[in-house]
Amino acid sequence: MANEKGLFAMFDPLLVDLSRLQFALTALYHFLFVPLTLGLSVMIAMMETVYVMTRRTIWRDMTKFWGVLFGINFALGVATGITMEFQFGMNWAYYSHYVGDVFGAPLAIEGLMAFFLEATFVGLFFFGWERLSARAHLAVTWLTALGTNFSALWILIANGWMQNPVGSTFNPDTMRMEVTDFMAVLFNPVAQAKFVHTVSAGYVCGATFVLAVSGWYLLRHRHVALAKRSFVIAAAFGLASSLSVIVLGDESGYALTDNQKMKLAAIEAMWETEDAPASFTLFGLPSLTNHDTAYGIHIPWMMGLIGTRSIDKQIPGIDQLVDKAKGRIRSGIVAYDALETLKQNGTDADARSAFTRHSGDLGYALLLKRYLEDPRQANDQQIDQAAWSVVPGVAPLFFSFRIMVLCAIVLLAVFAISLWHTMREEEAPRWLFRMAVLAAPLPWIAIELGWFVAEFGRQPWIIEGVLPTFLATSALGVPDLLLTIAGFTLVYSVLAVIEVKLMLAAIRKGPEVAGVIEGWHPGTAEDVALSPQAGE
């Protein structure tokens, strides 16, 4: 399958597309459950804190009820997370070899610091009510919540490095990226921005869920005491979190690297560099063939403020960034040539020094592998082609970003209105609760689109500027991929249906019956057999 004549041979493009499809499917699906886990774990811990401080049992009932819903969701987060941990090795073997020295460490530390914490204590959260004192149980709940948040931290340190690969260098002896400064990887500004943004988004998700379910109860005058308190907590927590998610959006990291700048320019469909501060295109129809955006509605200054947090720094446009990529491709070809020489003779001092000077651009030369076997033979037209390949799909990014931001702003308004009404003396109006129920899908839409903007916007790179996605797959056959994609789709769909049904049934049933949640009454034909003697 692999062409073994030159270094870095490319695979069947269909295999690459299928590998990407599989990763996107499993990651997006996993990410349906994770944000809710993040948000609910913290909210449950807050409710239990109130219980331990006031000893009013309503707060314990709330903790237990939301805990049941948390548990149904947590199980699928864990189940789908198993796939994620191994998928890099299964479908992205060359990626795993190429960057495992850097990327593997945060993943392993995530296991040590986060997964053990949440998974060990989540069992006691459910099973420990009778065995632990109230304070000890509260500690267990907070440790579970802490574990889920640590997990977000470490996976985003890993992901931040894919977007901004700091603290590492290519080693020609081992043909891979190796760590030079672990602290730089740890305190990567892109990772920090992503962490705050993603965790806040998770809190918004949890708050919206609690708000919607409580609103549904209040509309029906059921479990009013529990629902009222939950509604207020959700509104307050949601308001703070949605402010954080918007104000601390992860665009602050977008000024850092060429690809991040490109992502920003593509989100904005900004073809030419504008004078600072750039305007924000509220809406328009971007066209890759004409290099312009038709029917644009612009808001002056806005983009400059979002992208640079200043009014005097320029944001480069797509055309300028493509020109810059051409220069980096030519520099990368020098690195590639030196690497080929080093492969023949590892002690060639000239080649080693040339490689050291240009190794930062090696990835750009590898972009040419899509068009020809040996990047050193590339003509101007091919270099042009490769340079244009660094532009991700502008239209999908442009629209996804706008829908995400719109969802966030609507949610902010929903939380603000909810909190304002609950603070007033008189009875809250019914439309308030209806609005809360209707808002339920918004965080998931925003979160999935946010993932898409971050990762689709990273294309054509799997590691920005270092390794193109099309070189990173495993040496698998298309049938292997088709089989596992079909398998995962089938299993995940069945589990999704079951989870949604259980969740809705648990919500319908309400807090008083928190364990067995469907109304199969003992004595029906089906259940007679459940008595201890019947099965023998």
Partner: protein, 384 residues
């Protein structure tokens, strides 16, 4: 001293040991969960019995499973070439393992949510698959590693697997799968005997000794396979450079049936490990019969640890030998991460592993005591 401790050579050796520790940790901790899953249809027949069996592991299996996840992460961080090659090479086998393991979290959580008998029986089968299938496949994987796996590396170190899924299912590898399954069934039975009251515990005490004796006999038979050279063996013929760059293409290796005995012959004290691999399951079998559940479970843990360690020692310094291009085999001295990463990760393990062990011990202490039909009925909805 610090220089010696953190030299590339020492770090690689320590990480070889830590790889073994994590695999043993996984087999000892999550092994009894898988064993309970595999035993579920046999030790528990009615719903309340199944609930007893499930609730012995209900609060702890989730933490135990993290040993598996951590194993994946640690191999990625410390042995990236092994991570890249093994999971893409064993692609469909790995898919089966994931499929089976995905069933467990949902199985535990969702089974008790409805009282319907069909519903619960279906999840019982899911839990059975989630226990038995990985137990078998992990053994098959070790069997293939011992024989050598058909793969080669391109000059840019891209791993290319040259075999097929069905090639993995050769008789010798399947035999190793049976060793693993028997061992984890013994381990699950030892846990149930220790933790489950009443009928479930009694059935575990009947099945346990049989599984333990089968484990000991199959493991000893595996020794014979090594002796005859059927279970492979590889030898490094070029000088081993322990502190060189991680590039598996710079050594010479030959296939040599019987080479897996070389480490034991060179250091006879190592024979203690396989000896305990036979004696420990036999003591577990005796323990089951004598009704000493605590000691039985300890013996079972020791058995699991020693059986896995035997395979590790036999292969040292190999991690994954290649049957089609032996020179490309992955070894502890040429398939690791950089020195900096190994050092950082050692620090992380040094800080977090003791903390993990401490709170895990605390959780088991809180949950101490037998699970009985009565305790399940009393616990009501806070049990599975």
């Amino acid at each position: 001293m610090i220089d010696f401790l953190f030299s590339y050579e020492t770090l690689r050796f320590i990480w070889w040991g830590l790889l073994g520790t994590l695999l043993v940790g996984f087999a000892v901790m999550d092994g009894f969960d898988m064993g309970v899953g595999a035993l579920l249809p046999f030790v528990a027949r009615t719903d309340i019995e199944r609930r007893v069996a499930i609730n012995t592991i209900g609060p702890v299996w989730e933490g135990n499973q993290v040993w598996f996840i951590l194993g994946g992460g640690a191999i990625f961080a410390a042995w990236p070439a092994l991570y890249a090659l093994s999971f893409s090479g064993f692609y469909l086998a790995m898919f089966l393992v994931l499929f089976a393991l995905i069933l467990r979290p949902v199985g535990f959580k969702y089974r008790s949510k409805r009282a319907s008998r069909t519903w619960r029986t279906r999840w019982d089968w899911a839990l059975f698959v989630g226990g038995a299938v990985p137990a078998l496949i992990f053994g098959v994987a070790v069997g293939n590693a011992l024989q050598g796996v058909p793969f080669h590396l391109t000059p840019d170190l891209r791993p290319i697997y040259d075999g097929s899924f069905f090639g993995l299912l050769n008789p010798v590898a399947l035999y190793c799968g049976l060793v693993s399954l028997a061992m984890l069934v013994m381990h699950g039975a030892a846990w149930l005997a220790f933790k489950a009251d009443g009928t479930v515990g009694a059935r575990a005490r009947t099945i346990g000794p049989k599984a333990a004796i089968v484990s000991a006999v199959l493991f000893a038979g595996g020794g014979l396979l090594v002796w005859t050279g059927l279970l492979g063996g590889y030898r490094v013929t070029s000088p081993i450079v322990w502190d060189g760059p991680s590039n598996p293409l710079r050594k010479s290796v030959v296939a040599d049936g019987g080479a897996w005995l070389a480490n034991f012959q060179a250091h006879p004290v190592l024979w203690l490990v396989p000896a305990l691999g036979i004696l420990a399951p036999l003591s577990a079998a005796a323990g089951f019969r004598a009704g000493r559940e605590g000691l039985t479970f300890l013996a079972s843990k020791l058995a699991v640890a020693m059986i896995i360690t035997t395979a590790g020692i036999a292969m040292f310094p190999f991690l994954l030998p290649s049957s089609t291009a032996p020179d490309h085999s992955l070894a502890a001295f040429d398939a690791s991460s950089s020195r900096a990463t190994l050092r950082t990760m050692l620090l992380a393990v040094g800080i977090f592993l003791p903390i993990i062990l401490a709170y895990t011990a605390w959780v088991y202490r809180v949950l101490w005591g037998k699970v009985s039909e009565k305790s399940i009925e009393q616990a009501g909805h806070s049990a599975y």
